[in-house]
């Protein structure tokens, strides 16, 4: 790829890069193109390869009980063929982590773990916006939010399957 096209891809206007280009093309030594905006570490082409199937553990079959439990915990219906497929693909994707040797390495919670936790002083700066918040709810009674009485128990697996048959998803 030519210098100019690379630069154009990177969004540099041609007016700026032309003097640079002259410098480069006129130089006697064969300096590589990558010297000026080469500070990026991102390679031009992908360098990773997918992990071969042989190295992965055997694929996990998600039993129906577990699907039911997951649905109950997350309140998300994914009982369809598509949903289960998606779940199994996601598990397969995560299985690639098994290839990495993590013995003796402390797990991290996030990449921002070494940041300092910001502590706030104990002064009142927020609140007093009941009206704004209540407007967000369809159902309010005298400045209270309205909810159904207690948790509505999730119907059993069979009942839910019957319900989902008639839904569009």
């Amino acid at each position: 790829m030519s210098v100019i096209s690379i630069a154009a891809k990177r969004g540099l206007s041609l007016k700026i890069i032309r003097p640079w280009c002259n410098l480069l093309t006129n130089s006697a030594s064969s300096t590589r193109v990558t010297c000026l905006w080469s500070s990026t570490k991102v390679p031009e082409a992908a360098t990773w390869e997918p992990v071969p199937e042989s190295q992965l553990p055997p694929p996990v079959q998600v039993p129906a009980d577990l699907v039911d439990k997951l649905e109950r915990l997350a309140l998300v219906d994914f009982r369809t063929k598509q949903g289960l497929d998606c779940l199994e693909k996601a598990i397969r994707f995560a299985d690639q982590l098994h290839v990495v040797d993590t013995s003796g390495v402390e797990p991290m919670d996030s990449v921002l773990e070494d940041r300092a936790l910001n502590l706030r002083g104990d002064a009142v700066v927020e609140g007093d916006c009941a009206e704004e918040l209540l407007q967000l709810s369809k159902n309010t009674v005298e400045e209270y939010f309205v909810a159904p009485p207690g948790n509505i128990p999730l119907p059993t697996r069979e009942e839910r399957t019957a319900m989902l048959k008639h839904s569009e998803f």
């Binding site: 936790l117 502590l119 609140g127 948790n151």
Partner: protein
Amino acid sequence: MNKQMSMLCPKASRVIRRISTSSLRCDSQPQPRAKSAPQQLVGVVGLEVHAQINSNTKLFSGSSVRFSAPPNSLVSFFDASLPGTLPVLNKRCVEAAVMTGLALNCTINRKSLFDRKHYFYADLPSGYQITQQRQPIAVDGTLTYSLLGGTKRSQVIRKTVNIKQIQLEQDSGKSLHDDLRSQTLIDLNRAGVGLMELVMEPDMSCGEEAAAAVRELQLILQALGTCQGNMSEGQMRVDANVSVHKPGEPLGIRAEVKNINSVRCLARAIDYEIQRQIEVLQRGQTVQNETRAYDSKSGETIPMRDKEGLQDYRFMPEPNLPPLIVYEDNASLPTGIDACQAVVVHKIREGLPELPGVKRDRLVQTYGILPEHSFTLVNEDGLVEYFEAVMKVTKKEPRKVIGWVTNELLGHLKEKDMSVSHSLASLRGEPPPEAESTEQVCSQTPLSQAHWSGSQRGETPDVS
């Protein structure tokens, strides 16, 4: 006999440090004679205390903390869990937790982590509670409390409870159930308020011990100023985990008792639950691992509805909060750190006020009164100040003053349903004159004057 074999407690984190012995039977609870078992079943009680931190603002947001306010007026966008809001930790709450940890002889974790505990309920708008499950701020402490035992209830018996951990967590909102219209009204004023959860090991064996421990904890927290400890206002909530077993055998299945609104209710609820479980086992049935609510009117515990077996809270690290670091002393502070961003344990330790246990010992030392009297003095709010104020002006022996205070003064106050701090205010209003006898001194105080003259005339005094 095998029907009474208890099963291992399912919660793996309950480490048995001391097997509770029945050698010191609780005096208040007459143990029924179990006809069939040679060795009696004893109760095992572990408490979980949620203490609301006494701070101006909530744990992760800058909205105000107040007991009564118009519904949803103390709610910020973060408390309502509107998208795009993030938690910012309140320094005062961290200091309160460290102070409480130090007062209870805990090890303060230099680095503690925040997690999310997921469950669905209308008063938890975000669907999760930010808590510290993996690595809390303080662990491994002890709470020393005293019971009045012995034949005449005059002997002070010292006991300890081990504290597993103290963690910071968010409170949920309040739900008011409207059964008529089959709906629940949600008030989020309390959502997000900082709580200290104190998890105690199951070292206690009856309601009286639990009540004494909670009372002592109340006094400690009030002395520190980290929690006002008012159970009726919900500033301190206690849940009891009760099970029964034969001493030496593994712990039985536990039931959790909730909805306890006072220290007295706590003792009654625990005793009822122990009794109920003993009867269940004697009938040959098994105790269910369930949550029960205490009904103060009937004095019974009833199973709570809405329980779908064991909850899976799906704990995960809180991604929006890096680890909380507290520093031991000024020397260990990293360079360039702002003073208002650092919590220094050494400074907090130096600033600890006089704890109730220390105060009791000091009173015994200074005035030579009996331990059980200093127990009564410290137990009543404001009585120590009253006593010391009287002692300043009287030439009488402390024991005589104690006698008057405990018998006559407290008796009068209970009759008129007034608190000691009330009368202390009126005592401070006038400087007491020089007096010879205790009765003279005490009769000089406006309250006592009014009392004694009023009681003669048979009318209620007017003390402003």
